[in-house]
Amino acid sequence: MTARHDPQAVDLATIRETLASGQGPTFWQSFDAVARTPAFRRFLEREYPAAAHLAAGPDRRGFFKLMAASFAMAGLAACDAGDDGRAKEVAYVRQPEGLEPGVPLSYASTTVIDGYANGVLVTTVNGRPIKIEGNPDHPWSRGGTDIFGQASVLGLYDPARSQAVRYLNRISTWDTFRAAMIGPVAALRADQGRGFRILTGPITGPSLIAQIQALLTDFPQARWHMTPPVSQGGLAEASQTLFGRRLDTRWHFDRARVVVAIDGDFLDPGPQQVGLSRAWVEARDASAGPLLTLHALAATPTLTSAKADYHLAAEPRDIAALVDRLAAAVDAPPTASDGRTAQWIARAATALRDAKGAGLVLAGAMQSAAVHAAVHRLNAALGNIGTTVTFTEPVLPDAGTVDGLVDAMAAGDVSTLLMLETNPVYTALSDIGFANALAKVTTKIYAGLYVDETALRCDWHLPLTHPLECWGDARAVDGTASLIQPTVKPFYDGRSAAEILSLLFDGEARDGLAILRAHWQGSQNAATYEPIWRTALLDGFLPGTASPEVSPPALAPKSADAPGAPLDLRPDTVTLLFRPDPTIWDGSLAASGWLQELPKPLTKIVWENVVAISPALAQQHQLENGDVVALALDDRSLDVPVWIVPGQAARTMTLTLGYGRRVTDTIFDGLGYDANVMRASPSPWLTDGVSLTKTGRKAVIATTQDHNSMEGQNFIRVARDGDAPQRQGEGVRPSLYGAADKPKDERAWGMVIDTDRCTGCNACVVACQSENNIAVVGKEQVAMGRGMHWLRVDRYYSLAKTDGNGLDDPDTHFQPVPCMQCELAPCEVGCPVEATLHDSEGLNLMVYNRCVGTRACSGYCPYKVRRFNYLDYSGGVAPSIQSGRNPDVSVRSRGVMEKCTYCVQRVAEARITADKAGAPIKDGTVQTACQSACPTRAITFGDLADSASAVAAKRNDPRNYDLLGELNLRPRTTYLAERAPRLPAKEG
């Protein structure tokens, strides 16, 4: 018997019936949970599901053999000299100024995703960057972070990063490279750069753009091409069609009274996430009167549609028509109709009509120009342009396309190609034949962080420096120019993109700082610019650099809309959608173990991608989770396992990018399935007319969906707008266990998590992993239920919020679950060695050095927040990764239980500082890692005993409730109920 929670044969029809009859659970995470399959029951009821394979393991003889072996090993362990690498004290020769041993220092810098910036503070200890925090002063990110920024620390220490210059895949040197390039560069210069092309990834950094443009002036015949940002999807094309030029659209949630998202993605991972989710949540919180409702129409469920108050799953091919219907309904209320679609449209139209000038209709980046045009016209008709919707100059520079480059390469017009910060051999659409065309280029130079697909096909590979170890700049989505400053000397022999350009084309190679400073200083006097520059470095950005607003542009007539590709409406085919992966993006972050092991927000799958399929389509083809299907269209085909996702449009499947790569010696080699195989121009985000065949094979998918399932009810609560404020929680109830005789200290730490603000983005989970040295365990171990994340974000489906549609389009809820720090903690009763016990400030501690690994505490924990080290997950990792660990947190070894302790190291630090100063700890001084990472400020932490603290105020919110309150464990972590709009009387 195995603990592996294989997706069981569940009958979707029965589930549908169960849900419709109201017999099923109110909140459910998986189909197994609704059907209560034996496998799910086992997972729920077993004391240690993750240990099942141990219990089912050896027979008596085998047991004795194992015991004998462990006994011998235990003897060996005693032979250790006790040298844990700290037997020497190594002093500085000359202590660096401003560096105090063991004291964290913060530097303002920038993390980059998809070319765009998020302002961050990098915490370094003893000269090593160990943690990313948000930069509260940054105008775009305002103290929030995303998973990509949080995980960038691990990327810095990745031992698999490219470490040396390579020529024809042999190790070479920078000097050799420069010497080899002197001749060709001189020849190019003589020929005005004919045949020279630069291909970059998405670049927004003004200094790098200026450098490239200066280069193009020097080499007038040279051309610059850029791979477009994944997050921009079809936006550039849409804007070009609509306005005749590229413009960025700004949404102002704070001026809106209703938001309608047409396949919107503003809450989803990407460069816009941090800024927009904060803006949306704040507007929702601030809206006096009725709740700022979000109406969402989506072909595939996203975080945006999951947070929507009224959501509707719609086929991608219908979306344009639905926007037209919506526009028509705004003008003339439609006659009553019962259908869900009609109902959604009627509600959205009514809300938009009522909020003229303060409504906001937006479309997702992946939508076609026609949809964007229709949305824009609707906003214009409603008078929203200029209030909730404004326009700015674009952040992205003008550059040629990849298609144009491939054409030139295929025609033999390219003699020298320089590629910076991009991996086109993998990311380019399969049908344009990038790799084949590349072979025709004489000199191929590739600068990248890894020896990847493109590097292996190039003559020269140059190692890039990681953004945490080089100078640079990038612009945020709003245009704010943000500075990247190094927080550590480069680990390997890398250079930044700017330095490589300088090395190639400047008479004397300049370093990154000189290039950056020269750009921003411009023609100003160095002495007068110095203080401005220093302030900018301290702040991490240059104030006032946000893109200027432009007056609302005139709209091209409707007839100018590009006619959409003819729809393939054969009934037996499906539409295949492509989306960036919610954790590893377009594959550029695939080398990060933290991101690979981070459960995808909606499917909770780790370490791979699957194709999302609607329950209806799965039922029609008799498919279960993990069944491999063959997708085919013309000469393109892909075998990929399906995953049934509620909320998916019935005839639409979704595949995320970034997987299916074959690069040896990497952690991502062979994981998942390559979506690029099925993509083709001119519609890279959607392939219509795909045939679907069941292969009969089944793949094992690792998902944490049912792991740590709690037994109970009403995990999620919904507070309906307009209802009389009614306390959601049960309040303090008497208990047989005397809480009163516990020693009371002056402080009582507590946490309140606002589920209405939580968008399920997972930034807290990665922040917790980074702060607390949490191990990565790999797909196999996760499949056994041994994932180590201290903080998990549970995703529930229900019909509780609005009137969702059963299995096919339910409401979605997110609930981050750290340790509840129960005042009457059952885990403490279970421990035979007092390795888990309370301190007088109310923290439920875990003393790793006392733990003997009985796992009783985990069995006793009703919230399932304890994690056990079944193997030595931390000991064997590469030394470089070990050096990136937080020195203030113990690294746990095999056989030890671990869990969230409210970042006890931060509490202790604040306590010591306050004690020394003889002052109380001010409210807000201690920020847990999850709290400070959260882009929407959903988590509040502080002293409950201080009635003036923010956390005490949240506790008094009527929305406050205890998770599993019926157990009366007095958890210190409580939740605020999700808010939902007042349900209007059903139209029609």
């Binding site: 190594v90 002093a91 000359r94 105090e100 020693p743 200290d745 050095n849 690294v891 302790t901 202790a908």
Partner: protein
């Protein structure tokens, strides 16, 4: 019939019992003694160092303040090991040719740090903070002994949990006024049982049950 046991058998049996009994007791005694011995605890053992630095000479005789080298002790978790530059502030002027200072000069010349053998060591799961102890009236010598009398530096106390907890349970026996923190010869005055509680109150030292919370040292 011949007796099965000779007359002496009884004595041998009693002796054996005694030996076994004594052996068991002895084993415990030896084990206890061994685990307390300086071989295990390292107390009083001065390890080899790159340069035979004498605290007695520098601090005791010349009177250099502790904080001249251990700069972090009042502010930071770690007291700090001085960089080579600190040694060379004086030794670039005096004893410039001394053979025993060769490693120090090499360190500066080659920009290679000196590697001192650690004398006082805590397990990696213990997080000790010097500054709070200094701030709350625990003097250097309480843990480090009379350093100013050590020709070669050795560990003065076995830093086992019992040592730490002893003080965390009874801080009043160990705290001293701020003026005496750096006094390496400090011994509790005769009226410590009167002065101790006053100092504890003055320093706002938490109750003993608070001070023995696991989270005070373990994270």
């Amino acid at each position: 019939m011949r007796q099965l046991f000779a007359p002496g058998a009884d004595a041998i049996f009693r002796l054996s019992l005694l030996v076994i009994g004594a052996g068991v007791v002895g084993l415990f005694l030896v084990t206890a003694g061994f685990s307390r011995s300086s071989y295990v605890t390292g107390v009083g053992v001065a390890p080899d160092q790159p340069a035979p630095f004498s605290h007695k000479h520098h601090s005791g005789e010349l009177g250099i303040d502790c904080r001249y080298c251990h700069q972090g002790v009042e502010k930071l978790a770690t007291a700090g090991i001085p960089p080579t530059w600190t040694c060379m502030t004086c030794h670039s002027q005096i004893w410039t040719g001394a053979r025993m200072l060769q490693p120090v000069r090499d360190s500066l010349a080659q920009n290679r740090p000196l590697e001192w053998t650690r004398v006082n060591k805590l397990p990696s799961y213990v997080y000790f903070n010097h500054s709070i102890h200094i701030g709350k009236g625990v003097g250097c010598s309480t843990c480090h002994g009379e350093i100013t009398a050590m020709q070669l530096t050795s560990r003065a106390n076995a830093f086992e949990m019992g040592f730490c907890v002893n003080c965390h349970r009874n801080p009043r026996q160990f705290v001293r006024p701020q003026s005496e923190i750096f006094d390496m010869t400090w011994a509790p005055p005769a009226d410590q049982d009167k002065r101790g509680p006053m100092l504890v109150a003055q320093y706002h030292i938490g109750r003993p049950d608070r001070l023995t919370d696991c989270s005070i040292c373990h994270r």
